[in-house]
């Protein structure tokens, strides 16, 4: 089943200055998609369009083969979860209190979390590998731990599609490996994952499909070994690059660092 399908989607914040131009692609459910591109290429805007927070100026978005606008806000929040790159939290919530907020789509406006919601929140913390941090304040966590707790909050929603905005940006190697394991296990459970990244290697390691964006345009869409070609990437990142292969994956290296 198609989890996600975009056809001819364009979006602009200011009239006549599109940040997403005529993007079309579709993604089967249970796959991992990387939105790859340099800073300012429109990755986060595309995530917000898929979330339904932004409406396309042109084109259509379908979630599980149904037009996104036909879903109610409450229906959509049970299907799509979002973990942002940097979530500023103004008050000292513990990790568990914060992850419990992920249960909001399942609670009425007057309801507070039940036993079952606590259980789901604890499961999400365990799944993200941060069960031991449940009583720690969010503000006392390192950037990497915090990122994993934010992802746990999105997992507590039990989403069918998980959107992650630059999830690896603040993680050290150990936490990167932990997150990649989480994403793999989500894929095994049939969850569709869409994450944005500016790092081609992060995309190569885990993604089934890569969507290469340049200034809001879809430059290429396909499996990593098709998309990670030096010519295209050099064009997008505007630096000389070299592709090396290992473990059946392609990795991108900077060719050399020239003089300014």
């Amino acid at each position: 089943m198609r989890a996600l399908s975009l056809s001819g989607v364009s979006f602009s914040y200011i009239p006549r200055e599109p940040v997403i131009r005529d993007v079309s692609f579709s993604l089967e459910s249970g796959r991992i998609l990387a939105l790859l591109g340099p800073n300012g290429s429109g990755k986060t805007t595309l995530l917000h369009l898929i979330l339904g927070q932004l409406s396309p100026k042109r084109g259509e978005i379908e979630i599980f083969e149904r037009e996104i606008r036909s879903y109610s806000r409450s229906e959509l929040s049970k299907i799509i979860g979002l973990a942002r790159q940097e979530e500023r939290v103004a008050f000292e919530f513990t990790a568990l209190e914060y992850v419990l907020l992920g249960r909001a789509p399942y609670l009425g406006p007057l309801e507070a979390p039940s036993d079952d919601d606590y259980e789901k929140a604890l499961q999400a913390l365990e799944m993200a590998g941060v069960f031991h941090l449940q009583d720690r304040f969010l503000t006392s966590l390192s950037g990497g731990e915090r990122q994993l707790v934010i992802i746990a909050r999105a997992l507590a929603q039990i989403p069918k599609i998980l959107l992650l905005d630059e999830p690896l940006a603040h993680l050290d190697l150990k936490n990167q490996s932990l997150l990649l394991q989480v994403l793999k296990s989500l894929r095994e459970q049939g969850v569709t994952v869409v994450f944005s990244t500016h790092d081609p290697n992060a995309a190569s390691v885990i993604a089934d499909q890569i969507l290469l964006l340049q200034k809001g345009c879809l430059l290429q869409y396909g499996p990593p070994d098709e998309v990670l070609a030096p010519e295209k990437l050099q064009d997008v990142y505007e630096v000389p690059l070299r592709i090396v292969e290992g473990n059946g994956k392609r990795y991108v290296l900077l060719e050399n660092i020239g003089e300014r």
Binding site: L76, S77, A90, F91, F93, G102, P109, L110, Y118, L122
Partner: protein, 344 residues
């Protein structure tokens, strides 16, 4: 593999027990305080009368039931409203330094009351009506201006609009003070601006209750959901919330009762700022617990200050002076303590 079901129910039991203990303690404290405050007063000298003495003396009974009791109820409602509003505003604005008078509400009320004192003969009713009118006008003007501003996000625009509206009304109060008769009207304006419940009666209680109580009940019922409004808008949206719409609704529920209370009590500062801080310190930032505790603590704090205000000296001490004095002292104490759980 951890037994998550067991862990989660243990977690709930642990949290609820700790919270319930605090609520029972504060309820008992509040009830005792209400009872003592009812017996305490100047009749004619300061004394704590026994219940029998009050019941057996018709004048003392009249004083306790028709003057002290409505005043006590108003002080409880004032404290609960200001603190509830403080919790809500701090959460919505994601800033622990916001207080209920923030959106032009307090200065609007001050302008309305001053206008009544100078041009309408300073009857309590006209002062209350004009204060309530201009205070709600201040709120709507702030929201209207925030919509018109073309700078920054919604919260920043509201803050800027609130500051501008407060400054406008504050200038208006300045002009009215300048025009006021320095012997009669100016002291009246000054006294009103300092806040107090000296003219309280049952009419005022019946006037504020329909505005204040339903709003507090609704806010109490949605207290856990307030946590979601502290998140970034896109995160709140992903959780099924329409942040703009819900924030406006909750903001109105928090500020309109304040406008009504300010019209009766004048400007009583610091309650809405420090009580939410103390609550978060005691039970954490989660509004499921910090909101109800704020209601209790705010009510207790205003009752305590108002009892001092009416008993300590022969004359009335303006309530606003006491809440500011004690509030600022507590605030400094909190800020200088090494651990500050609950706020960043």
């Amino acid at each position: 593999m951890k037994d998550l079901a067991l862990a989660s129910s243990r977690e709930i039991v642990k949290r609820n027990r700790a919270f319930l203990g605090k609520i029972v303690l504060f309820s008992a404290l509040l009830l005792i305080s209400v009872f003592l405050s009812l017996l305490l007063g100047r009749y004619p000298a300061l004394s704590l009368q026994s219940p029998q003495a009050i019941v057996s003396d018709p004048m003392a009974f009249n004083l306790a039931i028709n003057y002290r009791l409505p005043r006590i109820l108003l002080s409880l409602l004032l404290g609960a409203t200001l603190s509830a509003s403080g919790v809500v505003l701090q959460m919505i604005f994601r800033n622990p330094l916001v207080e209920p008078g923030f959106l032009g509400v307090s200065q609007g009320a001050a302008f309305g009351a001053s206008l009544a004192i100078i041009f309408l003969g300073s009857s309590l009713l006209t002062m209350e009506m004009l204060a309530a009118f201009f205070s709600i006008l201040g709120l709507f003007l702030s929201i209207f201006l925030a919509r018109k501003l073309r700078y920054g996000g919604w919260i920043l625009r509201l803050v800027l609009a609130g500051i501008a509206v407060s400054a406008l009304f504050s200038a208006g109060v300045g002009v009215l003070k300048y025009l006021a008769d320095p012997l009669k009207q100016l002291p009246e304006i000054t006294f009103w601006l300092l806040g107090g419940l000296w003219g309280s009666d049952w009419h005022q209680v019946f006037y504020v209750v329909p505005f204040v109580l339903p709003a507090l009940i609704v806010l109490y019922l949605i207290r856990w959901r307030l946590n979601i409004l502290t998140l970034e808008d896109s995160t709140a949206f992903s959780l099924g919330v329409r942040p703009g719409r819900e924030k406006m609704l909750v903001l109105s529920l928090a500020v309109i009762p304040v406008a009504v209370m300010v019209s009766v009590a004048g400007i009583v500062g610091w309650v809405g700022l420090i009580i939410p801080h103390i609550s978060r310190k005691l039970v954490g930032a989660n509004s499921q617990f910090s909101f109800p505790l704020s209601l209790f603590l705010g009510a207790f704090f205003c009752l305590f200050c108002d009892t001092i205000a009416r008993t300590m000296l022969w004359g009335e001490i303006p309530l606003g002076i006491l809440t500011s004095l004690i509030g600022a002292f507590i605030f400094l104490l909190i800020l200088t303590r090494p651990s500050s759980r609950g706020f960043v």
